[in-house]
Symmetry: C2
Subunit: 504 residues, 2 copies
């Protein structure tokens, strides 16, 4: 045994993943730890997948509902999706196999604002939570749980589940103890909610460990496996250009006295461009930055290293293997500058609004009037999910969205006449940035927006076609507030589906 | 003079509306009081319209930007719109003439979340605020302003404007003094924002009057005119049916232990159905209700009268003439049960989230997957605006939307394959109610939603066509998460625009 299980009575519950998985019944709803490839259970899901496969092979039905913090890794989402035995999946995923199951109409995906998940689970909208399966770094002598590389939904799942299986992962650094800030009162349901006592990203308001009812713990698995995140792609010219425009904008706002010199707390979404923006900040002029965000990427660690970022508040790491190893070695040093919180604190609208977060997220497509699609390819096909993007975008001080101007080697314009799905409405977006420039939408009505979005953000090849659409729409529309020709508004998407390109 | 101006030095500034309007220059941005037909200046706007018309007649350009709390009345929005001299209009309106100016592409309408307006004005996104024109009930001896029947944006406009014109309206009851709760710290910009110290709808956290810098007051106009609101339509069977379904749902939630017996604070949108819902509650079983909402309609006053509602917190009245007269007579009695707050408090995401507001708003159309259009007729034509609906819906505990199943005497289905504009995405809506029933969307993926929305909410005539759309979409779509046939998704709207009906 690893010595990480310091509570004597819990030590007696150590078992294999197979033994633990054998406890699961058909139809169970399971709350797993895990958030963007960090802190997910490494062995239980595979064992559960084997159990499901065995049942299916024997001609027996076997399905489980899979709740998590957010996306996980192939060992969890991939393994379970491939069994064909996933019923409900919530609230966010980004796994190729899970995505296939969802888009085949097999897994029933609930794409939920991450900050809403806690209340929905507590109020029983998913029915009974039969089991929580949570990775931890260690169990203390008095039976408290030291969180691992993500916090996500763990507090809620541990509290709400009938039974608990813990994975104690020796790979996680013991020096993580003290990095987390678990605020319990945020889980109160109304009318018992209290103000969130956060005034700056660096405020600690909770405890460093999870409480757990030992009577609910039915099994403990010992593991020693790394978190699995995909490495970020090397920064390309487009990402660098986008980061450049963002820095220029932020600099301008400071000069105009509209942002403090150290800006406001930054939120930076998932994906490669978000990471490039952070790299840009590392070389930029801003000092004493703070971050109130969802995940800590490589770029944010670099920013902490330069001393330009003084604190990063998030709910999880989202690090490449190289950076994850480094975080593990140097956790003791980072512990004073990184705070990992439950996702209902990191993504809380109250905090996002009060702190005045500058939110910067990726998108699938945006339209000429300012609406954003973050989730659906051609209106129907789920890519990842909305995640926390609307927790931030809707309540942020600036809601910035970044994207290359085209996708699929230029066949698709990411700026379209009308988005095929809306996750963030024109009312909640304030800037778009592509490699061609920035569209600052503040103070602009829809028709004025269309001009700057087309001129500044669209790919040059698509600018003229977009302008032609606007002309047509102004001729055909029943009102000039947001002119659309509904007969051709989605025509670009239809053309792509039929011919493989949006180009005429 | 009326005796309402008790501050001596301010008394010297009394002038006619025409004299005050003469101060305005071409291109000015003016912040007017006024929220849903309550508390708007009664005389200045007409005088300003005359000034603009005179300039136009003389061949001179004259435009003003018109900012308000929300909608106003014909005397303000109508009079100014008819001059053709409105540049920007923000953040919400519902006036026929202003609507025409917007949809003609003449007035430049910024349709803004009401809770965002304060920070946008303070940060100068509308440029300099040249003038504030604010109706008040009285001016105290020490130069404080007693608010009238709406608070809205007044605190911000008084603070930010270069010059101020006050209208002291003798029609407003002096007994309103003490009903308002003006919290100043909510106007702090980040990083200086503080927690909003509200834990229940009845908490008073501010002062009863506005502060004003007397040096900025350039004119005071004395008026004696009633607020002008349109009477509500008598309750029809559809509205009663909708209210019935809502009450049934709330009762069920209480029985299941998912809502307290006195529910959670209610928010009730604008329009006739919202009023019907309140009437339903007056006859319903619930006691000790509270309301944390934007406007106080007739129905809410009735609810207070029955004793079933203990407190109504809002930013404005939205009363029929009869109820407005009564409020005026009996303000002293209602003062302990009604709190009027600035709109950045009434609509604050922090408060909405913390209190767990049950939001109930109207819509133009909803789609089978749960997206809601509150603003645009056939995708292009602005009706009113988003108002506070997303401040509430996005952060509420339940986001309920109510609508008759059809519009335009049955030619239009309010449940469509795909909405022509999205104000509230599927991620932020939890129940739809029409006269045919309720669709409880919680825990349902998009495809399951489509079934309950069609079966429970769509008009019977449109159910089969909607089911046929679903079948076609499932055949054509590139993914089964939210199946759409993009070529025909907006086809119902196109058919209506071409033939005058969505019916095949
Ligand atoms: C939108 C999002 C997918 C972009 O992420 P990214 O890493 O920059 O995305 P990529 O450019 O690699 O695109 C992902 C895929 O979508 C495709 N794609 C991108 N834009 C597209 C478009 N307009 N039309 C069709 N496909 C498109 C890409 O080709 C790629 O497909 P592939 O995987 O088959 O190669 C990602 O930001 C996301 O999931 N956002 C929603 C959640 C979120 O914002 N979370 C952060 C909140 S805190
Ligand atoms: C959506 C909204 C307009 C509905 O209000 P209402 O009083 O119930 O609306 P009505 O049924 O009278 O409809 C208003 C108009 O839209 C038309 N309409 C309604 N549904 C329609 C549809 N699906 N397609 C086309 N027109 C439609 C009606 O025919 C009517 O037109 P008319 O004025 O030419 O007769 C109103 O709730 C609103 O403005 N909401 C947005 C702001 C908001 O929610 N504020 C509250 C926040 S606290």
């Amino acid at each position: 045994m690893s010595g990480r299980i310091r509570n004597e009575s819990l030590r007696s519950k150590v078992m294999t993943a197979g033994e633990a998985a054998a406890l699961v019944q058909d139809g169970w709803t399971i709350g797993f730890s895990g958030f963007t490839g960090a802190g997910y259970p490494k062995e239980f899901p595979g064992a559960l997948a084997a159990r499901i496969n065995a049942a299916h092979d024997a001609g027996e039905p076997f399905r489980v509902n899979v709740l998590t913090g957010a996306s996980t890794a192939p060992e969890l989402d991939g393994a379970l999706a491939r069994t064909g035995g996933v019923g409900i999946r919530a609230p966010y995923q980004s796994d190729p196999d899970m995505r296939s199951a969802i888009n085949a109409g097999d897994a029933d995906y609930l794409d939920i604002h991450l900050s809403h998940m806690g209340q929905q689970v507590r109020r029983g909208y998913f029915g009974r939570l039969n089991l929580a399966v949570v990775e931890v770094t260690a169990i203390t002598e008095d039976g408290k749980l030291v969180p691992s590389s993500s916090v996500g939904m763990n507090r809620t799942y541990l509290d709400e589940a009938d039974f608990i299986v813990l994975e104690v992962n020796e790979w996680q650094s013991e020096e993580l103890l003290g990095m987390h800030d678990i605020f319990y009162d945020v889980g109160n349901l109304p009318p018992h909610r209290v103000p969130l006592p956060i005034r700056t990203a660096s405020d600690r308001i909770g405890q460093p460990v999870f409480d757990v009812d030992p009577a609910k713990v039915v099994g403990i698995i010992e593991t020693n496996s790394a978190d699995r995140n995909t490495p970020f792609k090397p920064l390309d010219d487009d990402s660098k250009a986008i980061a450049g425009y963002l820095l220029e904008f932020l600099g301008d706002e400071v000069r105009k006295g509209r942002l403090p010199e150290n800006l406001l707390p930054l939120q930076s979404g998932v994906g490669n461009i978000a990471n490039a923006v952070l790299a840009g900040l590392a070389e930029g002029p801003f000092e004493n930055l703070t971050s109130y965000t969802e995940v800590i990427q490589d770029g944010m660690v670099d920013l902490l290293d330069t001393g330009k970022l003084t604190v990063a508040s998030a709910t999880a790491f989202s690090l490449s293997p190289e950076y994850a190893e480094r975080m593990n070695r140097e956790a003791a040093d980072y512990r004073s500058k990184i705070i990992l919180r439950p996702q209902d604190v990191s993504n809380n609208p109250e905090a996002v609004r009060r702190l005045g977060v500058i939110a910067c997220n990726g998108l699938i497509e945006a339209d000429i009037y300012g609406n954003v699609n973050s989730t659906h390819i051609m209106g129907s096909r789920m890519q990842n999910g909305i995640g926390g993007s609307a927790d931030f975008a809707r309540n942020a001080y600036h809601s910035i969205f970044v994207t290359p101007s085209t996708a699929k080697r230029g066949a698709i314009s990411c700026i379209v006449p009308m988005v095929s799905h809306v996750d963030h409405s024109e009312h909640s977006t304030s800037m778009f940035i592509t490699e061609h420039g920035i569209a600052d939408l503040r103070g602009l009505s829809p028709r004025k927006r269309s001009k700057v979005i087309i001129d500044n953000c669209a790919h040059p090849d698509f600018r003229e076609p977009l302008r032609e659409y606007v002309k047509l729409a102004e001729k055909k529309a029943n009102g000039m507030h947001t002119p659309h020709d509904l007969a051709s508004a989605l025509g670009w998407h239809v053309r792509f589906l039929e011919t493989g390109t949006m180009r005429p």
